[in-house]
Symmetry: C2
């Protein structure tokens, strides 16, 4: 008997029929002898419909009111799900974020969980009932105001509850079978990954894998909550995110490479002709930070000896492009650079794997694979378990396929690459 | 400068445009120098849509979950309304029943307010902001569960808040101009009533006037909250429900008759051939009460001396007809009556007026008016300020018109009847 936290996203509870199907799965988990806590998102399009309503009222809704509005969505899905489970003869009770003790800071729209006090959830489980908890929402500690957690919020609620309840596993149900070695839409031969470490999953998420939000994985790592990402449609075993293998399994050798992530949503800014004196780079990134823009990769070219000038390039979300270029242009005279170039036709590829720490040939092999495929590399950054490169946007898919094949990740054909095999 | 509680029903906030219109009215009240607290119902059809969703899940949803589901409706309307007001440059904040301190008992679906602790609402008002509060909902004291107040719930929330805040007036905005001397759909010459006492309004509400729920008026009377029932469309002065005239007005003489209410939703049950011995009537009404049926008028005919048998008639909501007749039929042998007759083709008319206490001729005049109109009276009950009669359903409208005219209530033509004029 285990304590399981299950999280179902909006597509899993899109209508009454889907809710009944999810209820059946929950009832089965309960009848199998487990204690079950469920975190649920708003039904399908509810959130978009509510945002649309707000836009009809005002273009700039106050964020506090926006949070109250949006949390109506989970209120609807969670009560309907509790009804559906009860209808199957399993007792169930639903709880808002506030009732479940999800305490957050007061940053409306993207609040961070500061504490979880799931007293009522625990009581409900101890009575043999299923507790349904609204995802994505919490309440501020002192003012009792309703907050939302922003992107990936429901996943984070599930992980935080699992940590607070010392659950055995947090199951994230989604519409795909798990985490893949690459995006199957781009690489049809991509394989489902059986297990990744928290660190690998963090790098995959940071590099464009959308299946789990960064903050949810960070939370899981901090509290060592084993995640099991799986499909709510098939019931198949999915991907485990954990530093140790799932209970009852031998610890297989960890593969060198976990997967290839890609991201086509970034742009590149190059500040051309920057005076190569101490403090100038710092000043440039101060200006960008003051514009509230998060930057990703940074590359500074070698200074051209004759001119005393250098170029600095960095990537950023292309949605922030206008903001950043405007902020830089306003300081051109002060900093003394020649011009700002903006390029949103780039793509980013990241090869992630904890095993590469002890395999120095990984970067060379990656560059070789891209060269053989005729793909030019524009920027490179590396960390202990990741190599990231920037290419032209229209070559990104080819690059992902070439790298996926070169590292033996394709499902049919080459064998799986494990650390220790010497490859 | 006054503290005003305004309540807007679902038809006043049916869509984004309506919400903006209501926001404008609220902003005007605030800019005129008043402190304003607003209670709002769910938008138009939201509640029906949510009930429909629940029915798709299960025919018998748990009432606790139903309450959580339905309260999503006010969450949406209140946050949108706060956005719309803010957009007009007036600061506004919305509060759930729980945040506004509306404490109820734990009877889900028809909870009663046991206390109102509007600390946050008061703080908001003191900061010069408009507080928007979700109607129809509260929270249980110890378990922090969400409850709904049932029929007339939002009106009751508004009155309870007005009492808790010692507001100067509670304005109930609706889609008509106020309380009328009769239903204008039946009596086109019906006049808007300027003021009724709580007692009169209670009797009007109990007799079929649907504009205010009984419990809301009871609450207002208990805490002496002046109610102002008015249209959210016209902005005209409506009807005051209060024992004293509105501030700044002379106390006009109170009319003998406030108005004529009618109700076509009742049925009549006659228990025929009841043994005329002590305790039998009590037993009959015990049986009906055990079936959870509320009865209204009761008439027991004089015992027929020769047989020792009597007939007992009572009225009840026709929706409870089947339940009550079945319960009685099951006890026929035990109680020893001859038969149960059921008649849902009745109509009820009630003449209400505090002034009739000191005017003994009212009943006689009423009966005379009905006789002159050729209408047969089937049952009569009276209280200090009300005379109720039962007629055939198809004569009810004629009866209302005849009585309305006989007591000089018609708008054009006869003068208004005031107590003290001797009429």
């Amino acid at each position: 008997m285990a304590l399981i936290v299950q999280k179902y996203g909006g597509s899993s509870v899109a209508d009454a029929e889907s809710i009944k199907r999810v209820a059946k799965r929950i009832a089965e988990a309960k009848r199998a002898g487990n204690d079950v806590v469920v975190v649920v998102s708003a039904m399908g399009d509810t959130t978009d419909e509510l945002i649309d309503l707000a836009q009809q009222i005002t273009p700039i809704p106050p964020q506090r009111e926006m949070d109250i509005l949006l949390t109506a969505g989970e209120r609807i899905s969670m009560s309907l799900l509790a009804m559906a489970i009860t209808n199957l003869g399993v007792r169930a009770k639903s709880f808002t974020g506030q009732q479940a003790g999800v305490i957050t800071d007061a940053v409306h729209g993207k609040a961070r969980i500061v504490d979880v006090v799931p007293t009522r959830v625990r009581e409900t489980v101890e009575k043999g009932q299923v507790a349904i908890v609204a995802g994505f929402q919490g309440v501020t500690q002192h003012t009792n105001d309703v907050t939302t957690l922003g992107r990936g919020g429901s996943d984070t609620t599930a992980v935080a509850l699992a940590a607070g309840l010392s659950a055995d596993v947090c199951e994230i149900y989604t519409d795909v079978d798990g985490v893949f070695t690459a995006d199957p839409r781009i690489v049809p031969s991509a394989r489902k990954i059986h297990r990744v470490t928290y660190e690998e999953m963090l790098d995959l998420a940071a590099s464009g894998a959308k299946i789990l939000a960064l903050r949810c994985v960070e939370y899981a790592r901090r509290y060592a909550v084993p995640l099991h990402v799986r499909s709510s449609f098939t019931g198949r075993d999915g991907t485990w995110v954990a530093d140790l293998p799932p209970e009852g399994e031998e610890d297989m050798e960890q593969p060198i490479i976990a997967g290839v992530a890609h991201d086509a949503s970034e742009a590149k800014i190059t500040v051309v002709g920057v005076p190569d004196v101490p403090g100038t780079a710092a000043r440039i990134f101060e200006v960008v930070a003051a514009a509230d823009v998060n930057i990703d990769m940074i590359v500074q070219n070698v200074s051209a000896a004759k001119t005393g000038l250098t170029d600095i390039s960095f990537t950023l979300p292309s949605t922030d492009g206008a903001k950043a270029t405007a902020a830089l242009a306003a300081t051109q005279e002060e900093i003394g650079f020649e011009s700002v170039q903006y390029d949103d036709q780039i793509g980013k590829l990241a090869l992630v794997g904890a095993g590469m720490k002890s395999h120095p040939g990984v970067s060379a092999k990656l560059f070789g694979a891209l060269r053989d495929a005729g793909i030019n590399i524009e920027m490179i950054t590396t960390s202990e378990i990741r190599v990231s490169v920037v290419t032209r946007a229209d070559q990104l898919a080819d690059a992902v396929r070439a790298v996926h094949t070169a590292f033996g990740l394709d499902g049919d054909g080459e064998a799986v690459v494990y650390a220790g095999t010497g490859r």
